[in-house]
């Protein structure tokens, strides 16, 4: 019998460690989808941030005299002190003579904010509820029944009801979009928890007397991060879309807060006469959502190949 001390790791002859995998970060930055997606998103965010600097005029300043101007048209408006200011409308003006370009860049702020906020909130709520549901059997059935209930109501209908029945505004819209998303997140988290809690290393931790809460945070929670990041991007993307749809149905965010959605919604009646009202915000919106989705796909492929979007 050889003394254990003498059996060095080298002794494990045909038993060599798995070659070290490239780190997640390196993989991410090799992924073209992630890179392009990220790039576009960042540009959009940047535009939103510097909106006050690049906007050619106050996005909600109306000018009835210069309504429905075509792109590149100029208009002048008298200020209270009688002086006249001349503005060039890169993207034309809408039916109130508001400068579409300025509205679009300010719209970037709100639209992206909505996307991020919805993603953050629904993930936050979903994570907590999901962890609880996943780990405590007795809570599980109760929570999941409620979630099933929420799931059963078609998302858009729920959103329509929430927004149009409460006072239309940024907050109510965000809530309206969050509510239907939460159960999806909860289910995702719960699924992860259920699979992880059977993992030997979690059981090992249990056996070594790790308190449940610690167990959740230390060993279970980290496993939810990857799928949640991915899910988050998809929620963010769809939130931006849903906002647009709500606006389209005439129950979105009030027009004096410009979002890509409600700029398009306002412009849609004049689609054939003045397409620019839909065209420009449309391009920005589609581009952003596209980018976020690409980012999400890329993230999924690298972080979490198993999972499939909206599944």
């Amino acid at each position: 019998m050889t003394a254990p001390a003498t059996t060095t790791p080298l002794a494990d002859a045909a038993d060599t460690p798995a070659p070290a995998k490239p780190t997640v970060w390196r993989k991410l930055f090799r992924n073209p989808a992630v890179l392009t997606g990220l790039a576009i998103v960042l540009v959009m965010v940047f535009i939103g941030l510097i909106a006050p600097l690049i906007a050619t005029s106050d996005p909600s300043a109306i000018n009835p005299a210069a309504r429905n101007r075509l792109p590149m048209a100029e208009s002048s408006m008298r200020a209270d002190d009688g002086t006249r200011i001349t503005v060039k409308h890169w993207m034309g003006t809408d039916t109130l003579g508001r400068d579409v370009f300025s509205r679009v860049v300010y719209g970037a702020r709100v639209s992206i904010f909505i996307g991020v906020a919805v993603a953050a909130i629904s993930i936050g709520v979903g994570l907590v509820v999901g962890l609880l549901a996943g780990y405590f059997r007795w809570l599980d059935s109760v929570i999941m029944r409620i979630m099933d209930g929420l799931m059963a109501i078609p998302a858009i209908l729920l959103a329509i009801a929430v927004v149009s029945l409460s006072r239309a505004g940024l907050l109510s819209v965000i809530i309206a979009i969050v509510v239907p998303e939460v159960p999806r997140v909860v289910r995702l988290v719960r699924a992860v928890v259920l699979s992880v809690r059977e993992e030997p290393y979690v059981e090992a931790a249990r056996v070594s007397g790790t308190p449940t809460l610690k167990l959740l945070i230390r060993h279970v929670l980290p496993n939810t991060v990857a799928p949640l990041i991915v899910q988050g991007t998809f929620i963010c993307a769809s939130a931006i879309l849903v906002e647009a749809i709500l606006s389209f149905l005439g129950i979105g965010i009030p027009p004096e807060i410009p979002t890509w959605g409600n700029i398009m919604a306002e412009g849609r009646q004049l689609f054939r006469v003045f397409p620019h009202n839909i065209l420009y915000p449309g391009i920005f919106l589609a581009l952003t959502v596209l980018a976020v989705n690409m980012l999400g796909d890329g993230l999924r492929d690298t972080l979490d190949p198993k999972m499939e979007k909206r599944g």
Partner: protein, 538 residues
Amino acid sequence: MSGPILEIRNLTVGLPKGGDRANAVENVSFHVNPGEIVCVVGESGSGKSVTAHSVMGLLPKGQLKATGGEILLEGENVLTATPSRLRALRGTRMSMIFQEPMTALNPVVTCGAQIDEVLQIHTDLGAAERKEKVLAVMNSVSLPDPEKMFDAYPHQLSGGQRQRIMIAQALVLDPALLIADEPTTALDVTTQAQILKLVSEMQERRGTGVLFITHDFGVVAEIAHRVVVMQKGHVVEAGTANEVLKNPQHPYTKMLINAVPPLTPAVRDEKTGPVALETVKLCKVYGGGGFFQKKREVRAASDVDIRVRRGETLGIVGESGSGKSTVARCIARLIEPSSGGIVVDNMDIARLSERQLRPHRKHCQIVFQDPYRSLNPRRSVGASIVEGPMNFGVSADAAHAKARDLMKLVGLSPDALDRYPHQFSGGQRQRICIARALAMEPEILIADEAVSALDVSVQAQVLDLLDDVRKKFDLAVLFITHDLRVAAQICDRIAVMQNGVVVEHGKTVDVFTNPQHAYTRSLFEAAPGRNFEFARVA
């Protein structure tokens, strides 16, 4: 025709860039004659499966590619054959059976249809004739009631029956070459024995040449005519079964053969330490209840009475589904027993709630089968080891100091503490798991198939380690295994389980020398290479 059915000449298969070596296999040459069983033996990563797959032309596209040499099937080089020609050869001249019959059979197609498919592809027989032929072959692999099996789905069959279906489907067109890739590894010993018997029968009756891939020298001893030993993609030794097994030349071969535990138990002195663990009529029942109609119950363990003393190793031996792991998990209180008692440290912990349980956790630790899932991939091994002690109020420094000692103890460098699991090999991880268990200073250590997933050489070392720590800390070890050889080597006493019941219980020597229960005997009957004396060479 004479001459080898299969001849492999200087086969070299390249690995994609960034692998741990340039080629999966390098200059491999050997041949298979008609009516001959050639075993290719080697541990994981030896390239034995790659060799087999390149013969079938089934190397994963884009990842592996034969870069040199040739593979002659009845004189025809399959490496240069066109895809359609290759397809024509598969199933007719050469065919293959795999390790996991469950996954190797299409779960949504009936067994009959899957055998029939071969005929559809390669013959133009009418439906009636085909069915006839299929039933015939199913008969020949002695499947009970072929008519019924024909329309059964894979999941409705037992593991052994599935493997028989695979064999039937491989042999239905009498190929010249049968490639068997670890065909029995996933099966219980008794089933394994039957399948091995079947393979050699078929091969004799039909004069098929068999290329048999395995890692188990027991199996080799059982059926091989000739043996090819592979290591890291090279053939290190080849010869007749007798030559290689009795008189190995290459050090690696010697090492492997030495590592095979003997079936004859070492004589061990009676342990008289205090009783550390006792179970009283331990039962675990799954299922039951049900909303509308009563679900059928599964008695995973019933009335299990076992007792383990300090310093003693009790082996629980049984095949899959015997309930041995259930017992272990009950004792570790990962699951709650349905009834009965678990006395640890003069305290029945069977009914305690998670919260009440916590203080008692330290008494009993467990090491799991799969080393790759036993450690949290996101935490350094150090963190994993100190977690337990710190749960019980040990200071961080103290815990870390202890962790370093334990790393030394299990034969790893203390500096490795802040490395992450993926940087270690399977064996090393299992050592770390043992260290983690020991960190709790338990009285009881449960090893649940702790060495089953390891290659023989590594297995031997980990077994040694377990025995060492038992001595060192006067542990009561509960050793769960399906492998009689392993049990023979390490256990003081053995409990044999079948369908949740302990059918035999006694000193290892007694159980091995004259087994009382029929089931125990059948287990010994089945043990591969039981009546083969391996060379013991230094």
